[in-house]
Structure formats: structure tokens, C-alpha cells
């Protein structure tokens, strides 16, 4: 817990420094001529406050360090599941631009329900097939929000001809 707390504080400090570097591209000072702070002032000084507070947390953890050294930050047993879900999400989003949502999302469902959730085939297939159909009718036909198609684009041409 303690180590993780410190690592997160350091991470936040790095993040604020990165923000400050970006914001510095714009004027960060107080310009009397145009009245008030420049375009970079808000992000810069707010990031600076963030940096100071994160440093404060880091220092505090050194000062009363031994307090809760016992509790673990991660539950090792279930950490694996979290990592695999994150990886699955990343893979799904990565497939979307070229494979389209109608390949990526069912694949995700198939993996999640069958392999990760260990559900039966009936439930898995119902949801894997039913979800894209629902998405098509709810988002595309009703709300006219087109989802990414990628390679599958030509397959949808006849469907559009029917439903639009």
C-alpha cells in the first residue's frame, strides 16, 4: 500500500510536470495590457498546485510511513483478471478501426462470457449475436449514429438500403 501510494504520488508529480511543460507554450503570466492571465496561466499554475500537493503526499508517506504497511495494494489473486480485462479492452478498441465495431465487440463478448466468465454456450452465443443486432437497430437505425465499420463496410450497404 505504502509503495503504491508513493508511486502514484510520483506519477502525479510527473504528470503535472508534463502538463506544465505543455502549458508553458502559451503565456502563463499576468498581462496587465490585455487584462488578466494568459492562455497558459490556468493549466500551468493549477498543475503547479497539483505538483506541490502530490509532493506533500509523498513527504507525508515518509513521515508516518509504517502506519499501514500491512495492507496490500493489490489482491494478487484477482489482479490477473483485471489485467486480462484491460488487455481485452485494448485489443477490442485496436480492432475497431479496421475490423469495425461489429467484429470487435462480439469478439470481446465471446471472450468475456465464454473464457473469462465461464458461461455456457447458449448464453454466450445469444449475447454475442444479440448485442450487435441491438446496437445496429438502436444506434444506427434509430439514433442515426454510425459505428465504425472498417473492412465490413460493404456488408452494410444492403442493410442501409433497407433501413434508411
Amino acid at each position: 500500500m505504502l509503495l503504491a501510494d508513493r508511486l502514484i504520488a510520483v506519477g502525479l508529480m510527473a504528470l503535472s510536470a508534463y502538463f506544465m511543460w505543455h502549458a508553458y507554450a502559451l503565456p502563463i503570466g499576468w498581462n496587465g495590457m490585455t487584462g488578466g492571465p494568459g492562455g497558459g496561466a490556468f493549466p500551468f499554475w493549477l498543475s503547479a498546485i497539483m505538483l506541490v500537493c502530490a509532493a506533500g503526499i509523498l513527504l507525508r508517506s515518509f513521515r508516518n510511513g509504517t502506519a499501514d504497511n500491512t495492507s496490500k495494494f493489490f489482491d494478487i489473486e484477482t489482479l490477473g483478471s483485471v489485467v486480462s480485462v484491460v488487455v481485452a479492452l485494448i485489443v477490442t478498441v485496436a480492432i475497431m478501426p479496421w475490423g469495425g465495431a461489429y467484429i470487435a465487440l462480439p469478439l470481446f463478448l465471446l471472450w468475456y462470457l465464454k473464457i473469462f466468465g465461464k458461461h455456457g454456450w447458449v448464453l454466450t452465443l445469444c449475447l454475442t449475436i444479440g448485442t450487435p443486432i441491438f446496437l445496429f437497430f438502436f444506434f444506427e437505425v434509430t439514433l442515426k449514429i454510425l459505428l465504425p465499420k472498417g473492412l465490413t463496410q460493404p456488408l452494410f450497404v444492403p442493410l442501409y438500403a433497407i433501413f434508411f
Partner: protein, 325 residues
């Protein structure tokens, strides 16, 4: 109820058979095969967005397109996002973009790797006008009163407008140059916001488009001082133009549609015809008359020439403004 669906099914079946046998048939009479994305260079709720959605509604109502036209707002970075999107979709036939003057100014102001010369012009629907407004409670009746009041304020005169570098600030810069005055320019997030703040007395004047100030004008809350047009605007017959008052100040906001580089000529023809029909519709005619828009339809090469000429003008304007300060 069943009839249209069976008919549609038949068309669809025919279409898919056509696809299977002959591949994409695009020769004469090209029609979109899927919904057409209409990218709007501005966020939801602004003047450009409202106009684009009006077009969508008329197209749907008058059945001007076989596939729905779907508006998508990509207003980030004064339209930089939309321009990049258009540039990234080279050769796409199902994408058009509703533009405003940031079509020129945004690529001029920041390097976003987009050259508008490459895009395919479709149609210019209208030119929006600009008018100098003050609160009806003020003593300012004429342009001379106005210039005098601004000079007397010693630089604290509050001129409201849209974001810095956008149209309103350019018109303000033109005013400052012409009359040798200096104002405090207060940027707001939209023209409607500007008009409200003018009525509420939080700013001293604005250069709103007539459509944004019309409601307040009719209620007697705002007073037009002069129009930035060559001829008087029919909705404000008593308001002189800048030209009449001896100042050569004219500024338009163009409302046009463009398409990505490399769109098939058949598709360009399809959209051009669609907008031509749109420009002749009853709804559009009434709207332009009521909102003091100049419906000035222009297409093809002429439109491209117009864009390039305007880009030159804006480059000069931005330079004169001392961009960056």
C-alpha cells in the same frame, strides 16, 4: 405501412444483386449507398450548427437525398479538428463539411497540415451579414456618435464577440483600423451569448450577425448602427451601410459545403444538385429573407476561386491584426 418496406426490400435486393454482379456501379446517377456524414466546423448550438441542422431538416422534409444526412459536430480548435478529419478521408464519397470563415482563418493561424485548395468545393449556400449593434438604452444613434463614444472611453470600450481570431474579432480589427480607435475585445463562446451580454449591459457594442440579434431587435432592446454590407439589408431598411457613410468596410460570413480531396465527380454532381434543389426550396427562401442572409448560390470552379480569393483577404486581415498579440 408494409408497402414501402417491401419496396425498399426489393430495391435493396436489386442493389445487392447489382453489387454482386457488377461491383460498385457508380456511373451515371450516382447515389450514396450509406448515410452521408455532414461534418460541422463548429460546436453544437452555434450559428453554423443551427444552419447545418436546418439544411438537414429541409433535405429530409423535401426528400432531397436518398440516404439520411447525419450532422456530426467537430468544432475543436476553431474547426482544426474538422479540417484534419476531411484531409484524412481523402477520396471519401459519403462525407461533406459545412464551413464558415474559419475554413480560411484556422489553417492560416495555426499549422495543422491542411491546404484548403485540395478540398473539393460543393456549393456556397449563403453569405451572412454583419451589423454593428449597441444597446437601445444608449445615446448612440449614428456611427459618428459611436466613434466619438469609443474615443472618449480611452480604450475601455467593451466590444463583445466570438473567440479571438474568429470573424467578430476580424471585423472589430477592421473597425479599429478604419477609425483609428481602440477597444477592449471580450471574447464569448457564441454569438447568442454576445447578444445577451449586450442587452444585459455587460458589454458596450457587438458586431453580431443579424440572426443572432434579431429577436432582441424586434423587442426594441438592441439598435443597429451600421451594416458591413454593400447594400442595405432588407430586414433593417433604416440602417445605413458602412459604404454609405463613407467607409469601405464590407465583411461576409460564408456558409458553404466542401468535400474531401478526390471525391468522385459523380458524387460531387449529386451533392451539387441536392444543394441546388435545397437553395430553391420554399423553407430556405423564407429563412434567408427573415434572417437577413444573402442567398448567393455558387458552385464548382467559381466557388474554389472565391475560396482562394477570400483566403488571401483573410491572410492580409490577420497580418494587419498583428496576429499573436
Amino acid at each position: 405501412m408494409t408497402y414501402p418496406i417491401t419496396r425498399r426490400l426489393a430495391i435493396a435486393a436489386a442493389a445487392s444483386i447489382g453489387l454482386l454482379s457488377a461491383g460498385p456501379v457508380a456511373a451515371e446517377g450516382w447515389t450514396p449507398e450509406r448515410p452521408v456524414e455532414m461534418v460541422i466546423m463548429a460546436g453544437t448550438g452555434g450559428g453554423a450548427d443551427r444552419l447545418a441542422r436546418l439544411f438537414q431538416s429541409i433535405i429530409q422534409k423535401e426528400n432531397l437525398s436518398t440516404m439520411p444526412i447525419l450532422p456530426v459536430n467537430k468544432g475543436g480548435g476553431s474547426g482544426a479538428e474538422a479540417l484534419r478529419y476531411l484531409a484524412d478521408n481523402e477520396g471519401e464519397n459519403h462525407l461533406i463539411m459545412a464551413t464558415l470563415n474559419s475554413y480560411y482563418t484556422t489553417p492560416l493561424r495555426t499549422d495543422i497540415g491542411v491546404d484548403i485548395e485540395e478540398f473539393t468545393p460543393i456549393a456556397r449556400m449563403a453569405l451572412d451579414t454583419f451589423v454593428l449593434w449597441v444597446n437601445a438604452d444608449s445615446d448612440i444613434e449614428t456611427l459618428d456618435d459611436y466613434v466619438e463614444a469609443v474615443k472618449a472611453s480611452g480604450g475601455t470600450w467593451k466590444m463583445g464577440g466570438t473567440g479571438t481570431g474568429q470573424e467578430d474579432s476580424l471585423v472589430t480589427a477592421m473597425l479599429e483600423n478604419e477609425f483609428g480607435i481602440s477597444v477592449t475585445y471580450v471574447p464569448f463562446s457564441g454569438g447568442g451569448d454576445v447578444a445577451r451580454n449586450l442587452v444585459g449591459g455587460h458589454i458596450d457594442s457587438s458586431v453580431n450577425n443579424p440572426s443572432e440579434a434579431l429577436g432582441f431587435y424586434q423587442a426594441g432592446e438592441l439598435r443597429p448602427i451600421a451594416a458591413f454590407t454593400p447594400e442595405r439589408i432588407s430586414a433593417f431598411p433604416d440602417t445605413p451601410t458602412m459604404g454609405e457613410l463613407g467607409h469601405d468596410l464590407v465583411y461576409w460570413m460564408q456558409r458553404s459545403f466542401v468535400a474531401p480531396k478526390g471525391m468522385a465527380p459523380e458524387a460531387v454532381a449529386y451533392y451539387t444538385e441536392m444543394f441546388e434543389n435545397l437553395s430553391q426550396s420554399q423553407e430556405w427562401q423564407t429563412y434567408t429573407a427573415e434572417k437577413a442572409l444573402m442567398a448567393d448560390f455558387l458552385t464548382g470552379e467559381e466557388l474554389q476561386a472565391y475560396f482562394l480569393e477570400e483566403r488571401e483577404k483573410h491572410a492580409d486581415l490577420l497580418n494587419a491584426m498583428g496576429e499573436g498579440s
